[in-house]
């Protein structure tokens, strides 16, 4: 089929006969928001299919909208650089339609150590970015554009710069520009890349911010640890924490340990102990410690018997979960806990008889190097095959396939199939009172994955994401009673999962748990720390939901609060 190239912002009018399709393509930069709007004849049924860098068809697509109407709209955010192929298909009826695309001007956030690519297509064009900074940080921005053009760089605090209104400017006769801000203010700096003359591709990077200090706040309960494990065992735990703090110091991170119920550890900050059973009081304490320490990352040590989850009202009532166990309020600076603002993770313990598990977890965190092969393992319930394929994309390598259950059952997986995988993805069923995860086809729910599957497997440093209901439920669980704990016991670096009933689609586009896990994988692949990737993934998720439908519905809100991160938030995946 011939796909006709159209321009962003161009509105075309065409017509289709019944069951006919026509193709178009648009070229877009990375990290933009692309909206494709189809308006068809009333009373008919036209569908929209989109594929990146490949011709779209009704069978091959990355995005589709196939309601029973002729009006369809798809928003893609963030885009990947390249061409989006658009197929308009007259499923029922015929008639005229219009098709338009839009990429609104918006600021793309650039994070430290990230390099962004962009394209200015003509002279006097501009693209905008922003970088969030802390008080006193040093920012270095580097722009590299085409040799035969003249691109300039402008920066302004708090709002978009223009050629006239800016705080910093770099404008030589070339496209190579640099701006250094020695002592940034806390907030956002807006960046403009401007083509004074010419066009072409450029890269913009924010070199690693030189901070006054990078701090990780480690927070736990001394009394709860002592009561659960005993005085001598508390000494062993504290020794492991000390090793972890030293390891962070070697990596240039200053770790501050704060016991929520110990006056000696809080008095240097002018703060007092709080009730260790009260997540609200603990959150207030974290807020107070953040004002004093300005931590880059926050690590909660211990499971819910040491440091409680919040018990939040289930937004999606009537599904059987009265409350949702969540760390979301700890990751938020205010009471609007849906959107996290902190890089926060939890390293959980298990039952009191399983102290060796907790000690091993702390030792693994101290090792700091979480290197693993970039190969992956994925498994899905058969009924969700299409939906899971879309989520698997960022971590899937050539030749790797998703295991479907059924027909695959837990006994069909040899250890070799799981060994030395850097990424694990599961889209299976789960239950509150079972450690196993299950497939589905029709009314058949076979056992797909169990803790025994990884008993002898080498899963060290793996990143594990699971969409199963109760996949991260660790309340009153031992290591062999929760796959999340089992993976951590086998030295997996990171586990992302849901504490309660989780939701998702049968087919793409990705929504709810599918969308959140997809965004997390994308952020991990960018090289972010586990804590930053999890925080950004939730922000990306919310933005995408709002862009698509101008709302966050109840299952989307539940997704935001029920997914938790079991990992050291300052650590990250290093692909071997």
């Amino acid at each position: 089929m011939n796909f006709r190239e159209i321009s962003i912002g161009e509105k075309i009018t065409d017509s289709l006969s019944k069951r006919e399709s026509k193709g178009y393509l648009v070229r877009v930069d990375a990290n933009r928001k692309l909206t494709i709007d189809l308006r068809g004849p009333a009373g008919q049924d036209f569908d929209l299919y989109i594929k990146h860098n490949e011709e779209a068809s009704t069978l091959k697509w990355d995005y589709k909208r196939v309601t029973t109407k002729a009006d369809e709209i798809i928003t893609i955010e963030p885009t990947s650089a390249g061409s989006y192929y658009i197929l308009v298909y007259a499923y029922r009826g015929s008639g005229q339609f219009s098709l338009s695309t839009e990429v609104p001007l918006q600021d793309v956030e650039i994070v430290p150590s990230q390099q962004i690519k962009g394209t200015l297509t003509a002279s006097k064009e501009a693209l905008y970015y922003l970088i969030k900074t802390k008080e006193g940080q040093k920012i270095t921005l580097d722009l590299n554009g085409p040799l035969n053009a003249d691109f300039d760089l402008y920066v302004r605090y708090g709002e978009r710069p223009t050629n006239i209104n800016y705080d910093f400017k770099s404008y030589s006769g070339s496209s190579k520009e640099k701006i250094i801000i020695d002592k940034a203010k806390r907030g956002s700096y807006f960046i403009m890349v401007y083509s004074y003359r010419g066009s072409g591709e450029f890269t913009l990077s924010a070199l690693p911010l030189e901070e006054a200090e990078t701090v990780e706040l480690i927070i736990t309960s001394k009394e709860k640890l002592r009561t659960k494990y005993g005085q001598a065992e508390l000494g062993q735990i504290e020794a492991k924490i000390a090793d972890y703090i030293n390891a962070l110091g070697t990596a240039g991170i200053i770790a501050k340990l704060a016991y929520v119920d110990d006056a000696a550890s809080l008095s240097p900050y002018g703060l007092s102990p709080v009730d260790s059973d009260s997540p609200e009081k603990i959150k207030e304490l974290i807020d107070g410690l953040e004002e004093k320490l300005n931590p880059r990352h926050i690590l909660i040590l211990g499971g819910p018997s040491i440091m409680p989850f919040f018990s939040l009202t289930n937004p999606a009532g009537f599904d059987g979960d009265r409350i949702v166990h969540s760390d979301s309020p700890y990751a938020s600076r205010d009471s609007d806990y849906l959107i996290p603002e902190r890089s926060l993770g939890r390293l959980p313990d298990a039952k009191e008889s399983e102290l060796p598990f907790f000690l091993t977890l702390l030792s693994a965190a101290a090792s700091r190097v979480r290197r693993a092969d970039k190969v992956s393992f994925g498994m899905t319930a058969n009924v969700w095959t299409d939906a899971s394929q879309a989520v698997y994309v960022p971590i899937k390598n050539a030749g790797e396939i998703l295991e479907l259950s059924p027909p695959v059952r837990h006994g069909d997986l040899p250890v070799a199939r799981l060994n030395r995988k850097g990424y694990f993805y599961f889209n299976l069923h789960g239950g509150e009172d079972t450690a196993n995860w299950y497939g589905q086809e029709g009314s058949s729910y076979p056992v797909a994955f169990t803790p025994d599957n990884i008993q002898d497997a080498e899963v060290r440093n793996a990143v594990v994401c699971c969409e199963a209901c109760y996949g991260a439920n660790i309340v009153d669980k031992g290591v062999d009673e929760a796959l999340s704990l089992k993976f951590l016991a086998k030295d997996a670096a990171c586990f992302v999962g849901s504490t309660k009933i989780a939701y998702g689609p049968i087919e793409p586009p990705s929504t709810e748990a599918d969308l959140l896990v997809l965004k997390f994988f994308e952020r991990i692949k960018e090289g972010l720390t586990f804590g930053d990737a999890f925080m950004k993934a939730k922000q990306d998720f919310a933005r995408e939901c709002l862009a698509a439908r101008s709302r966050l519905d109840m299952t989307e809100k539940k997704t935001l609060i029920e997914f938790v991160l079991f990992a050291d938030p300052s650590s990250k995946m290093e692909e071997a």
Binding site: D107, A316, G317, F318, D319, G320, D334, S335, D336, L338, I339, E341, H429, G430, G431, E432, D433, T434, N436, Y438, G442, S443, S444, Y445, P446, V447, C469, I501, A502, Y503, G504, P505, I506, T511, E512, Q539, A542, R543, L546, S550, R551, L552, D553, M554, T555
Partner: protein
């Protein structure tokens, strides 16, 4: 005139029989949900949102099924409809 709950259930029954047959015979709970976005969400994400809140109805179908090993698993399908009974979203676990 707004659809009654009885009319809604009847309208959605066909969809459930085709797409979630294991839940089609379950009696759904019908709830009204209003999509108001907290100010903090808009502020934190740097987006501007419409001030009017959209109200929809949600039919929640739920049952427990037994897995191969005897474990009890929750199966839920939520169907969101507008005031005319048009399905605007379905999701399940």
């Amino acid at each position: 005139m707004a659809l009654t709950d009885k009319e809604l259930k009847k309208m959605i029954k066909g969809y459930m029989e085709e797409n979630s047959p294991e839940l089609a015979d379950e009696e759904p709970v019908i709830s009204v949900e209003s999509y108001e976005i907290p100010e903090g969400v808009a502020r934190k994400l740097g987006v501007s949102l419409p001030k009017s809140a959209k109200t929809v109805k949600v039919l929640t179908y739920k049952k427990m099924v037994t897995a191969e090993d005897g474990a009890k698993l929750p199966i839920v399908t939520r169907v969101t409809v507008d005031e005319d009974g048009n399905i605007i979203k379905t999701t399940g676990n």
